[in-house]
Symmetry: C2
């Protein structure tokens, strides 16, 4: 059963039926839905935050901020939708003198890919939840959405699904524009269902890879946008340490423990020139409750595995309490055990890597598995070597930072939250920012098609004779 | 061994080494390489066409046109590269008042994805060959290219590879920017090699799917841009037939036999209101040699299979000679055997489907497997039903046509040559037109990175203080 009282099969049939109806809605209409969703989130804020805090153990302050971000991103997409910025329209008028031979009139826009299945994340009950970035970017694109509820906050998922259904009815959106399924097997089956045309996932590498494999093995494979694991390496340069030691130590301590370290952008590997000095500068790292017992157990497993491959440096191995812990290794250790850089410890833990010369890190960076982020903490301006490291990081990660921390991902037009595998399964896509809508839009070219049958955005301004309310193709 | 005298392992090592060097070249420099390639193609035209004609049995006239198209597309990409149009640069300056919380400076550009493996097509020895759209779009993006030679024209592949190598040396491109491998097993192994970061393929659904599966099963899956099969349905409306019967019949005859029907955009299914009348209007369909014995054998197999599922309508079943042949079925037959619409006969053959009412075709269109193209042949202006069919086609295909034929794919900014599976394995991408470069570009965001360490295109015009020759990140 879904939260809305219908079975997975009915939910799939509903999004399938809704897809062509949704595809015909004008972008400005969908923008109004997104604004209504944002308003409803803001109105229900106190109730939602209370429920989320009870289910996730995240602080009310953190959840307030996340909810503000979530309604903001719906409004930002609404704004960009209304201006037509998301469709990358291209018009080539007929050209008899086109050098490769006479060219017909060709016009390209982007149409919704069809029903999108969303697997939200446990650590972001709002921003990557039932009404998070995946859902609102799919709705912005004109795709019906089926969300698989997260087992870590099932009551919040239901509450958000009910809110969504209520809002969509109020704005007169097609029935079937949104559905929720709760059963894990139903989720796996839906990944393989021919009516689902794209999948968005945020979570563990293991779980995401299993679902990616199902999507790729379909008779008709579909795009699988999985945001999986990342250790987000941070390089502290000698110049950075000399000039900004306290700032760096405090910044790291705050970033690695933010939200009990339960961020995909948590700095999990820090390469420092003087590890003893770095460790001595760190303020005490606070212990905070984690999302759920399953996450604590995985944290214990990951840190135990790290303890077998690196030395304990600060704190102690977590047991019942998810205490912060730091490990130590050297660049020579990384050469011996390169997978150390790929060992994500989801929680307040990091690996501190001692290096002798900044030059050694070129090879380390070049050997990195795909990452969401990579950071250099330096002095005032990048030196030549630091610039080279930033450049090399850009070849391995989705976001490069200088003198900043990777946690706290802003939502904007230029944001890119992605990266090569295993950071994601789709390295050209982002799950944050306005470019996230492109995941659910499929380019279509129209050749020699008369104005009346063209999507509104493809009509010549001079021949604009169509109604403003719809998009006929 | 490769055509350049090196083994696959060495070729892979070479593109891997070249990747970071290529990534640092300025777009204007790569534009100059593409122009040099285009010039070399034009200069060698007569020799190349003669060799291609000998190996493929395509006419010299057709090959001349294809070669003109090939050099044109290299020049068009060069032009767009030089203007910066391909990188979709986005700059968000820091904004302390950003509603979700203070925003750092974030700038996004696109960087080359890394070494690209290209499997060219047998039917387009130039446009989808060693120096075809996949190769030049990857080079435009800044990616080294490894081409798997096509067994149908091995000597032409070598000749083109030698030409490429010579040009790249002359323009001082990095060694390893281009390589050729010839062995089919080496190709399959390269798909699975961690140094290959994307694969582009044009060919059969069976072969493409097998390679797609290998790419998806990698420990680190990479994008696989496969352009596979399509039957390119054409709907002739009653109004179209009433007003343009001869034009439609002649247009179809020319399109279905163009290049002996060896086009992925060949109209393989035609839905007509009066099949007897349609068949009576057709001019004689010419027989022409096909590419190679293997293609003839596959053509015989496909038409034999169709003969078991539909009635012969014109011509006879091909034997030693690849004669044109048309089959007949009704909309009722399609309901009984929906896969008929998916049975591609690569060669001069098509299925003519009799329908009674245009309305019947809505369900036929909605049930189509993904297609490269879909066409309506109507009267002067689309009626309401025709407009609805064009709209429904847009939901199933990559390019929608009105009163035109799908063969002959122009190269331009608005072109889209793609579609849902099985038309392609990557429905958001195109293998023709300037947007084809995007397949090989990966977005990267830079947060709080000082100007001197930013890629040139991300620097503020007012602070432009970097050298024009390079792209430091």
């Amino acid at each position: 059963m879904t939260a809305l009282g219908i079975r997975p099969e009915e939910a799939l049939a509903a999004v399938d039926t809704a897809a062509p109806v949704l595809a015909r809605t004008a972008p400005v209409i969908r923008a109004s839905w997104l604004r209504a969703i944002a308003d409803a989130l803001d109105t229900a804020r106190d109730d939602l935050v209370e429920l989320a805090a009870a289910e996730t153990h995240l602080t009310a302050q953190r959840l307030q901020g996340e909810l503000r971000r979530t309604s903001f991103q719906a409004r930002l997409l609404a704004e960009r939708l209304a201006t037509g910025a998301l469709h990358d329209v291209r018009i080539d008028h007929a050209d008899p003198a086109w050098p490769m031979g006479a060219r017909p009139d060709i016009r390209r826009t982007q149409l919704p890919i069809g029903p999108v299945l969303v697997f939200g994340a446990g650590n972001f009950p709002f921003a990557f939840g039932v009404l998070g970035g995946d859902t609102v970017s799919a709705l912005a694109a004109g795709c019906p959405v089926l969300v698989k509820a997260h087992p870590g906050h099932p009551r919040l998922c239901r509450r958000l699904a009910e809110l969504t259904a209520r809002v969509l009815v109020a704005v007169d959106a097609p029935a079937g524009a949104f559905g929720l399924i709760e059963d894990i097997d139903a989720g796996a089956r839906a990944v393989q269902d021919r009516r689902v045309k794209a999948v968005a996932f945020t979570g563990s590498t293991r779980g995401g890879r299993a679902l990616f494999d199902l999507a790729a093995a379909r008779p008709d494979p579909v795009p699988f946008y999985g945001e999986l694991g990342s250790t987000n390496p941070v390089i502290v340069s000698p110049e950075g340490w000399r000039t900004r030691a306290s700032t760096i130590a405090e910044g790291f301590a705050a970033s690695v423990t933010l939200g009990a370290g339960q961020f995909c952008t948590k700095p999990g590997v820090v390469l420092v020139p003087y590890a003893d000095d770095f460790l001595a500068h760190l303020p005490p790292l606070p212990t905070a409750p984690m999302l759920e017992a399953r996450i604590v157990a995985q944290y214990v497993d990951a840190t135990t595995e790290m303890a077998g491959r690196a030395r304990l440096a600060a704190g102690e191995l977590p047991g019942r309490q998810p205490t912060p812990v730091l490990f130590r290794a050297t660049v020579a250790d990384l050469r011996r055990d390169p997978d150390l850089l790929d060992l994500e410890m989801f929680g307040p833990a990091a690996l501190i890597v001692d290096y002798d010369e900044l030059d050694e890190l070129r090879a380390v960076v070049d050997a990195l598995p795909g990452q969401l982020t990579g950071t250099v903490q330096g002095g005032d301006e990048p030196t030549e070597t630091e610039t080279d490291l930033l450049r090399r990081l850009a070849g391995r990660v989705g976001r490069v930072l200088w003198n900043d921390w990777p946690t706290g991902v802003t939502v904007s037009d230029a944001q890119h939250h992605g990266g090569p595998y295993p950071a994601t399964t789709a390295p050209l896509s982002t799950s944050v920012g306005t470019a996230s809508v492109a995941r659910f839009l499929r380019p279509v070219a129209f050749q020699n098609v008369p104005t009346t049958a063209l999507p509104t955005e493809l009509r010549d301004p001079s021949t604009e004779n169509g109604p403003a309310e719809g998009n006929p193709a």
